[in-house]
Amino acid sequence: MIWRIIIFLWIATTMVVALIGAPLVPVLQETTRVLYFHIPSAWVTTVALGWSMINSLLYLFTRNLKHDDQAAAAAELGLVFCIVATVTGSIWAKSMWGSWWNWDPRETSIFFILLIYGAYLALRASIEGEEKRARLSAVYSILAFVAVPPLMFVVPRIYSSLHPDPIINSSGKIDMDPMIRWCFFSMLIGFTFLFAWLQRLRVRVFRLERRLAV
C-alpha cells in the first residue's frame, strides 16, 4: 500500500509545485500548465508501446501467455495515454492556434498512432483462440512499433510545424527554467510509476479472465 500512497503524493505534490510555484514559459504563457500533463502522457505512450513490442517478441520466442498479457495490457494503456496526450494537445492547440485540430505534423502523427493501436485492439477482439490471437497480435505489435519512433520523433522534425521545439532541442540541450525542469521530470517519473501500477493491475485482470473462462 505504501508505494501507492507515494505515487499519489508524488504526483499531487508535483502538481502543486508546478501549477503554483513554477514560472510560466514566456512563449507558452498560460498554456504552460498543459506541458506537465501532455508530455508525460506522450512519454508513457512511447514507453507502453515499446513494452508491448518487447513482450510480443518474448512471446514469439517463449510462447508463454504471460508475455501476451503484458503486451496486450501495455498496448491498451499506451492507447489510453495517447488519447490523454491528444486531448491535452488539442486543448493547448485551441488556446495557442485558435483551433482544436489543425492537421499539424505532430497531430497527424499521433492520429496515425491512435489508428494503428486501435486496429491492434480490434484485431485481438476479432480472433478466437488464445494461441492464435497471441501469435498474430505479437506479429502485429512488432510491426506496429516500427512506425512509432518515426511518427513520434522523425516526422515532426522533418516537416515544418507550429508545435513548440522538442524538450531536447536541436543542439542536444534542455533549454528550460530549473524549476520547470524539476516539475517536468518529476511528473515524467510520476506518470511512469502510474503506468507501472496500471500495467500490473491490467495483467492481473487478464489472468483472472483466463481463469474464469476455463
Binding site: F8, A12, M15, L19, I20, W197, L208
Partner: protein, 35 residues
Amino acid sequence: MDRNWVVLGVSLLVWGLLFFWILRVERRVSEVEKR
C-alpha cells in the same frame, strides 16, 4: 479567483478520484483472486 488555483483544484480532484477508483478496482481484483 486566481486561475492557477482553479487549475490546481480541478487537477487534484481528478487525480484524487482516479487514484481512489484504481484502488477500488484493485481491491475488487484481489477479492476475486482469493475466491
